[in-house]
């Protein structure tokens, strides 16, 4: 076989299933060759797809102890059976690998149009192995697969890379997932961007991609996604759409985007401010959904098949040149997407910056440079705290890192992506930075990954959710503010939280496996309402319990990977600040997180031993023994 050629695949007509293509594209970057493989049918059934199936591959094929930035780590792009179908928000793909930031398994999820395009090209997964000898990109056009030279794109931002690939390849409908300079420079929290503004954002999946010298995957697919039982499938789709249409959640997402959340977290005293030193931000109104809509919104933008369209395109407008950017070659002129709630918080409240112009620009920089804005903002916030207490002095930094400084936000965002000056320290994330500067407690995260925008002292349940998430600090596996603000739970108490978090993690994980966006759940379209669509699409009849069990199986696979990687109970922890320091004012004053009360309950709820190791009987029950 010549480099770049693909061995004959098999026709999907051989399968009487739908949803899945049943095929994996395995690309060896070291040799520049690709092969197409069939996915074992039983694996598809046992994992549904996406995150779970990819975790199964990773556990089978990668030594969990491997250095995440070595050629032995693998980078898996995984769609689900509903990706590329009209199930509302069936847009998602996941990047599964050993995370550069966390040294744990990670699953980073992104929308846009890239995932569906991969399905239309005929593949459920792309598994990237080895390391390209020079900057390269993968070009996929249905059966045609090539590993091509990307040296002309190396160093370029996400926008220029996508535009350049479109020009070079000249194929209408091409979709691009790529890294920016941050991924090339191995910034520990680099992300993979697709369709310019959508991110597989967390845990340094872009760093792993950069370590493989892989700049981009450009894909165009002209095939289709088959459905096993079309009639039942469309019935399910229409029912789901009807139920979502007028739901308040859908309307709020569409009108205000995710940034509407900031009013809620502020009201609860759970909006982490200045590296979690406070629980409320006095300038929050500058950053909320209303302000963004009234002053910046250009248009709503949907991901593939999305009937919500929470995405917003916003513009900096007249303030385009307000902040100078030194190294970054492309000046802000265009509309960009965001800011999302997490971004507005990380680049805003957490750094104490209440200037929406600065937040928008930093957000755009993060997107174009290919960095996770959550970890970027949170790491800068940690550095600002170290500057505040004198650990970092003016000798370390080229400009004062005061909380609230828009200048510092913009300049350090850029410097981080290029590892310039103190940016080189920030590029390591707050855990490594804090350890190096002798203050590890400044890291507000778990397993090395910075927390998103919920202070567990305002939402007690987030404490156990953060501590136990397989990919470190993360809000997407069990979002306790839901039940904690609607009267199900007292937000400050521990009772019931561990049990709820364990069950919810199973549910969201199974949801991720399908390829449908998690946000349909908040718009009256939770997992249980589209189990019939999963069955109809795939031809495998699943009950809701089956699906939840698959979520649990996936969660345990991820846990096994982490344990074999050397993580222990000690990594299911929270920083001292959350355990010992209460806020002095506001609705969450006086509250600390009682993890000791929740963690043992969580372990036993999961069927794990007191050290957090899945018991033999649990593994047998899940078919993992």
């Amino acid at each position: 076989m010549n480099p770049g050629e693909v061995e004959a695949g098999f026709s999907k007509k051989e399968m009487d299933m739908g949803g899945w293509t049943g095929k994996i594209l395995r690309v060896n970057l070291t040799t520049g060759t690709a092969v197409v493989e069939a996915i074992p049918e039983s694996w598809m059934k046992d994992y549904i797809g996406g995150r779970g199936l990819a975790a199964k591959y990773l556990l089978d094929e990668v030594d969990p102890k491997v250095d995440p930035l070595s050629p032995e780590n693998k980078l898996i792009f995984a769609t689900g059976p509903l990706t590329g179908t009209p199930v509302p928000c069936g847009a998602r793909y996941m990047v599964v690998t050993k995370g550069a930031l966390t040294n744990a398994i990670t699953t980073s999820n992104s929308g846009g149009h890239w995932g569906p395009e991969l399905k239309f090209a005929g593949y459920d997964f792309v598994i990237c192995e080895g390391k390209a000898p020079r900057p390269s990109y993968i070009f996929i056009y249905d059966d045609r697969v090539e590993v091509r030279d990307a040296s002309q794109y190396w160093g370029k931002g996400v926008n220029d890379t996508e535009d350049g690939l479109r020009d070079e390849l000249g194929i209408p409908g091409l979709r691009v997932a790529c890294i920016g300079p941050a991924g090339e420079n191995l910034v520990k929290f680099a992300c993979i961007m697709n369709d310019k503004h959508r991110a597989a954002g967390r845990s340094g999946v872009g760093t792993v991609m950069g370590s493989k010298n892989l700049k981009a995957i450009a894909v165009r697919g002209t095939g289709g996604v088959n459905i096993a039982d079309p009639e039942a499938f469309m019935k399910g789709v229409w029912r789901m759409r009807a139920e979502m249409k007028d739901s308040p959640g859908r309307k709020s997402f569409a009108e205000l985007g995710t940034a509407a959340t900031i009013d809620m977290t502020q009201a609860m005293g759970g909006l982490p401010t200045r590296n979690f030193q406070q629980g409320q931000f006095e300038l929050y109104e500058n950053l909320n959904g209303n302000t963004i809509r009234e002053t910046r919104l250009v248009a709503n933008k949907a991901c593939f098949a999305c009937t919500i369209a929470c995405g917003r395109v916003s513009q900096l407008g007249d303030a385009a040149d307000k902040f100078l950017v030194n190294m970054h070659p492309r000046n802000w002129r265009h509309a960009g997407e965001g800011p999302e709630y997490e971004t507005a918080w990380a680049l805003g409240a957490d750094t104490g910056v209440g200037d929406l112009d600065a937040v928008l620009k930093a957000n755009w920089l993060c997107n174009d440079l290919g960095m996770d804005p959550i970890s970027m903002g949170a790491t800068l916030a940690a550095a600002m705290e170290l500057y505040q207490d004198g650990t970092i002095t003016d000798q370390h930094v080229e400009l004062p890192l005061n909380f609230g400084s828009s200048e510092a936000l913009i300049r350090m965002t850029e410097a981080t992506a290029y590892r310039e000056g103190f940016g080189n320290e920030l590029a390591e994330g707050s855990k490594r930075m804090g350890e190096k500067l002798g203050n590890p407690d400044v890291h507000m995260g778990t397993k090395g990954q910075e927390y998103p925008a919920y202070d567990p002292r305002g939402f007690q349940g987030m404490g156990v959710a953060y501590a136990t998430c397989n990919r470190g600090g993360c809000h997407l596996r069990a979002w306790t503010p839901g039940p904690e603000t609607t009267g199900v739970f007292d937000p400050h108490e521990t009772a019931g939280k561990a049990e709820w978090v364990a069950a919810e993690q199973n549910r969201t994980t199974a949801h991720d496996n399908t390829g449908v966006c998690l946000f349909v759940g908040a718009a009256n379209g939770p997992l249980e309402k589209f189990v019939d669509c999963i069955s109809a699409a795939t031809g495998v009849s699943y009950s809701y319990d089956d699906v939840l069990r698959i979520g649990e199986r996936t969660w345990n696979i991820e846990r096994l990977f982490n344990l074999r990687a050397g993580l222990t109970k000690a990594d299911d922890s929270l920083p001292k600040r959350l355990l010992k320091e209460a806020h002095k004012a506001g609705p969450s004053a006086g509250v600390t997180v009682d993890l000791n009360a929740m963690l043992p309950v969580y372990y036993s709820e999961r069927g794990w031993d007191p050290e957090g190791v899945p018991t033999a009987s649990k593994l047998a029950e899940l078919g993992l023994a």
């Binding site: 009209p86 149009h113 409908g173 002209t222 289709g224 759409r241 593939f304 999305c306 369209a309």
Partner: protein, 158 residues
């Protein structure tokens, strides 16, 4: 009077549900590359323009076809491709000023919007009502199409 598709780009979010629905009608799978409605994306402007056949009163595709393979559906006014008569010469695709006649790579025959026999799947599937199926005089499309046609005639000196 017959009904037409009325497309309102300012409402469109670029979700491609219409392409999915149309491709389903054409192929029985979800395959946007086979959709007869296409959503043009202008990313930098955050603007999306779905477009498909306008079912012109005096249709250029029909005029151009040497074998009379395009005919008017009496029930809906849609211009239909008659597969058996199409010889794959592509003249209609060149003649259409809107670029909404396609050819199918596998058969090399013309393929264009047929209004789904009066129940357009794209309009039904659009979550933002950016595609409506309305009486012809309710649409901005018709007068605009007539104007484009007139300009075209003037330009080519017809």
């Amino acid at each position: 009077m017959s009904k037409v598709l009325n497309i309102l780009p300012e409402k469109c979010t670029g979700c491609m549900q219409c392409e999915l629905a149309c491709s389903w009608v054409q192929t029985g799978t979800f395959q946007p590359s086979k959709s007869l409605i296409r959503v043009n994306v202008f990313d930098e402007q955050a603007s999306y323009a779905p477009y498909t056949c306008l079912q012109c009163d005096e249709a250029w595709c029909m005029t151009a076809c040497p074998t009379n393979a395009i005919a008017t559906d009496r029930a809906t006014g849609a211009k239909l491709v008659i597969d058996q008569l199409c010889i794959g010469c592509h003249l209609c695709t060149i003649a259409c000023p809107f670029g909404t006649v396609f050819t199918l790579p596998e058969s090399d025959k013309a393929s264009k919007c047929h209004l789904c026999g009066g129940a357009p799947a794209c309009a039904t599937s659009c979550p933002t009502d950016a595609i409506e199926y309305v009486e012809a005089d309710q649409s901005w499309f018709g007068p605009w199409a007539a104007k484009v046609t007139e300009n075209y005639v003037n330009a080519v000196g017809g």
